[in-house]
Amino acid sequence: MRYAMALDIKKCVGCADCVVACQTENNVPIGFARDWVIENGKGVYPELFLHFESQRCNHCDNTPCVRACPTGASHVIDGGIVKVTHNECIGCGACIEACPYEARYFHPDGYVDKCTFCDHRVSKGDNPACVSVCPTSCMYFGDLDDANSPVSKILRERQFYVLAPEAGTKPQVYFVK
């Protein structure tokens, strides 16, 4: 099993509903976020192009954050989801430095927190909170090993890219263009 996510940048309107859904679902403290939206502008007036990217932890296949962690608090669970055990984390920040995507943050309580792909929902067969609220349905989630999952289907049909592939982390959040 290998969970992955795909986001259609042609459909995303940058409403940030995914950010709010995550904050509500996962009790993320005010002023912090596990996912965020970036606006990419390109070109010179009047030939301007714009697209949005909803970004989060890429649940990489090759995880520098897990390697850097001195206690094993950062670890990979079934399906390739990268998680942090809060009461094993000493808050050293090594994993934050090791992540090329700046996907981790210090929770005000001290430990490191990050996107979990909503493993508590996914294990019951639901979609992550961000995916389920998206008003334009631009997000696809599922198991890459299952050829019929929504994410496998869209990656088969469309062109896609990942963020900073040159960092060598094999990210598992795809952007379809």
């Binding site: 940058g14 940030a16 950010v19 002023g31 912090f32 976020a33 996912d35 965020w36 939206v37 970036i38 606006e39 990419n40 502008g41 390109k42 070109g43 010179v44 949005f52 520098p64 390697r67 850097a68 962690c69 001195p70 206690t71 094993g72 608090a73 009461n87 094993e88 984390c89 000493i90 808050g91 050293c92 920040g93 090594a94 934050i96 430095e97 090791a98 992540c99 090329p100 995507y101 700046e102 943050y105 210090f106 309580d109 001290g110 430990y111 490191v112 963020l163 900073a164 040159e166 960092a167 060598g168």
Partner: protein
């Protein structure tokens, strides 16, 4: 033209616009690790060569410093943790993959050895201070000695150290090299930061740490021959350090775009003046030149080059940690 804007979510001050989770604590910790490694490296090396009585400052007196500064370094490391109450988790795990983990273990072992090494020379130290008109220090050390002899177990460990100095010296020599390299590898293991992601960082930090150790010993020494020896060693180390720095930047400039961009911070960017002017100029070139003059017979107070090298070593680490956190693959 290309532009990226944050629309929503991650305006977290220590993440955006760039990571800034390691402040002054980590560079200071790396500096202390390097300095302690340098001092212990020379102390054990000259002990192994049988120079304990010829070079008392190197082998005995200077080793008072490592345990004190390592304690300070560990305090800063713990102080920098965000989840302090769980510090003990670090000591419950050993992970070879994580330099933060094995480095903390190496530092702990070195810390324990470094406490007993000077304690095992207590009598010699007191005699040394008395001979060199440091009556006050001699008195304090006598008090400490009395106190320690009353404690349980500790005197046994001191005797053990005295009896097994040779094997302990070999182990410590090896561990201090590991410790010196670790201070660089801690950064270079982070492949998310293009500026740190170079295998040269380990040897560079080792050489820099050893040169700060040589500077500290030189500063403390009361004997001309010893001072001259360490001046010479320091000049050699500075030349090696400059070579490594040159190679490091060549590697970046010829590397992938992210590394070219990170090197540009030092080649015209915001770190150009502090790095080349203050660290390379005043922390490497100037002390090397002063030491050359000293060796030629001009009288230069040894404290000046020694202080410059030590300060340069600290500034180097502050710059590397700061600039590394700015360098990124994204955007």
């Amino acid at each position: 033209m290309k532009e990226q804007l944050m629309v929503s979510g991650r305006e977290i001050s220590n993440l955006y616009p760039h990571v800034d989770v390691w402040g002054f604590g980590i560079p200071l910790y790396l500096f202390i690790g390097g300095l302690a490694a340098g001092i212990l490296l020379f102390a054990t090396y000259y002990f192994i060569k049988g120079k304990a009585d010829e070079m008392p400052v190197t082998v005995k007196v200077s080793t008072i410093i490592p345990p004190i500064i390592i304690a300070i370094g560990l305090a800063f490391l713990v102080g920098d943790l965000h989840h302090k109450a769980y510090f003990w988790q670090l000591m419950m795990h050993f992970r070879l993959e994580s330099p933060m983990s094995w480095g903390a273990w190496v530092l702990t072992v070195v810390f324990v050895i470094s406490i007993f090494w000077p304690l095992s020379y207590m009598d010699d130290l007191i005699v040394f201070f008395e001979q060199n008109n440091k009556k006050w220090l001699a008195k304090q050390f006598k008090k400490v000695q009395k106190l320690i002899n009353k404690l349980p177990v500790i005197p046994w460990f001191i005797k053990f150290t005295q009896r097994n100095r040779k094997p302990i010296a070999y182990v410590t020599f090896f561990l201090s090299i590991v410790l010196g390299i670790y201070t660089g590898i801690l950064l270079s293991a982070m492949n998310a930061r293009p500026l740190w992601n170079s295998s040269l960082l380990g040897p560079l930090f080792l050489v820099s740490g050893v040169s700060t150790g040589a500077a500290a010993i030189m500063w403390m020494s009361n004997n001309e021959a010893e001072k001259k020896l360490f001046s010479r060693i320091d000049i050699g180390l500075i030349i090696i350090e400059l070579t490594f720095i040159l190679l490091l930047f060549l590697g970046f400039v010829w590397g992938p775009e992210a590394q070219v961009r990170s090197a540009e911070m030092f080649l015209g960017g915001e770190f150009t003046a502090v790095f080349w002017g203050i660290f390379v100029g005043m922390g490497l070139f100037l002390p090397a030149i002063l030491e050359l003059f000293e060796l030629k017979g001009y009288h230069i107070p040894i404290a000046i080059p020694a202080f410059l090298i030590l300060l340069g070593g600290l500034i180097f680490r502050v710059i590397m940690v700061d600039a590394g956190q700015i360098s990124t693959y994204l955007y």
